[in-house]
Structures are given as C-alpha cells and as structure tokens.
Amino acid sequence: MQTDAPIRRTAGRLSREDQRRLGDILQRVYDEVVHQGVPDRFKVLLDELNEPSENSQAQSSRPLESASDPESDRRLEGKGASAQGSKGQH
C-alpha cells in the first residue's frame, strides 16, 4: 500500500513511475469523455451535410459566422470561406 506516497521531484524531473501515474490519470479523465461516444447532434449534422438535395434549405440557413475568420482559414488555404459564402447566397 502506498496510499499516501507522494510523487517526488528532484530538480524538476519526475520519476518514470510518477510520469506513469500522471499519465494514467490524464488518460482516464480524457477517456471518460471519449466513452460518451458521439452525441446525436453530430450524427444529425453530418447526415444533413451528406444529403444536400434534401436539406439544402436547412444548410443554407445555418449560421457560419466564423467562416470569414482569416486567421483560422490560413492553414486551410482559405477555401472554406468562399465555399461557405456562395452556399449562403440563395
């Protein structure tokens, strides 16, 4: 039993064992969300996007205010802004 065993640091370095413990907690915290699976809203969203003929009206009214953010588009070659802009015109 080591229920009160502290993680020891020496000169700012964690032991391998302590790194493992921290990593284990981190993984469990993260996996708790992962195990919630895919909320329905995302399934619905991707289904709508996948059937433009039936849902084009719903799509065109979807707010995409962030699409014009130049910073976010920078690494995506800026294609998103123009594509989304034209979609919202009709």
């Binding site: 039993m1 065993a5 915290v29 992962v34 895919v38 998103g80």
Partner: protein, 184 residues
C-alpha cells in the same frame, strides 16, 4: 456538397476524441460541443484540401485548435470555466468515487498554460506522436517535447506533490497520484 460515406464515418469516429480535446481546451462542455460542430462544418467546407489516406483525426484536431485559438483571442476574459459545466455534464458517470479526484485533476490541468496543456493532451491522452502533435500545433517537435515535460512537472506541483504540509488536508490528491501505483 457531397461526402463519401468513408469520409463521414472517419469524421464521426473522430468526434469522441475531438470532444475530449475541446473540453480540455475550453473547460466547458457546451462551448466544446459548439467548437466541435464548427470544426465539422469547417472541415466539410474545406474537404477538398483533405488528402485521402492521411490522418483525418489529426486534420480535424488542427482545425479545432485553430478555431479555438482565434476564439480564445477574441474573448480572453471568459476562457476558463473549470469548476462548472465540465463536471456537471459528467455527473452521471457511474464511478462516483473517482468524481472528486477527477475534478481535482481537471482543475490542476486547467491551470496549465494553454500551450503546455494542449501538448500534454495531444501526446498523453489523444495518442498522437510528438511529430503529429507538432504538426497540429504548428511548431517544432522539440517544442512539443519541452511543453509536455513542463506540463508534467507543473501538474505534479499543482497536485501538491512535495511539501504537502503547505497544502493541508490533501488526501484526495495523494490518493489520485497513488491510484495507479498502489502496488509495489
């Protein structure tokens, strides 16, 4: 705009991990889910720039991180909500005994500088290699390694690992930190 079923499936498969990453970034489940939704919309609008055969998950993580960064700059004042809705959304989890220790860990995690936190999550929880994490964060591999190391060290400090007298009753934290290493 049509999408091949394989692309749709790959996006769906990435959603759980995207959510976990988003929550770790903004500490608020509702905002995290909005961020994931925005990411999927952005990804669809830019699907032609995705190269088939490459890592869809890493691509989506990159988009999500960029979206978060631009939003982060816009509203710096309400960045962290570590105590509220995050725990709220998870309260139905069956392992109630771990609730407190998880919350305590999350609080410590939220206190890390954003750069260190995202590096630690990407490498330590999302399962990306250092190289993939560096690509997602648009920085050098050595930078990622350095951030991960500093994040671990800082976490251990925040969880009051040494000098426990200064932190008073701290059994929970020590129970957390020994949870994985109870046997020797």
């Amino acid at each position: 705009m049509t999408m091949r079923p394989s692309v749709r499936d790959a996006m769906l498969a990435a959603v759980p991990s995207l959510r976990a990453f988003a929550i770790s970034l903004c500490g608020n489940v509702d905002r995290a889910d909005d961020l994931v939704q925005e990411t999927l919309l952005r990804a669809m609008a830019n699907i032609t720039s995705f190269q088939p055969g490459t890592n869809m998950s890493a691509w989506l993580f990159t988009i999500l991180r960029n979206l978060f960064r631009s939003e982060y700059r816009k509203r710096r004042r309400e960045v962290e909500d570590t105590d509220g809705s995050y725990a709220e959304s998870l309260k139905s989890h069956p392992e109630q005994h771990s609730r407190v220790e998880f919350d305590e860990f999350r609080t410590a995690l939220a206190k890390l500088p954003p750069d260190q936190r995202e590096a630690l999550i990407l490498v330590g929880a999302s399962g990306f290699s250092y190289e993939e994490a560096a690509a997602i964060c648009d920085c050098a591999v050595g930078t990622i390694k350095s951030r991960v190391n500093r994040a671990r060290t800082r976490l251990s400090e925040l969880l009051s690992i040494d000098g426990s007298d200064d932190f008073g009753p701290d059994h929970t934290t020590r129970a957390i930190l020994s949870a994985g290493g109870g046997r020797s």
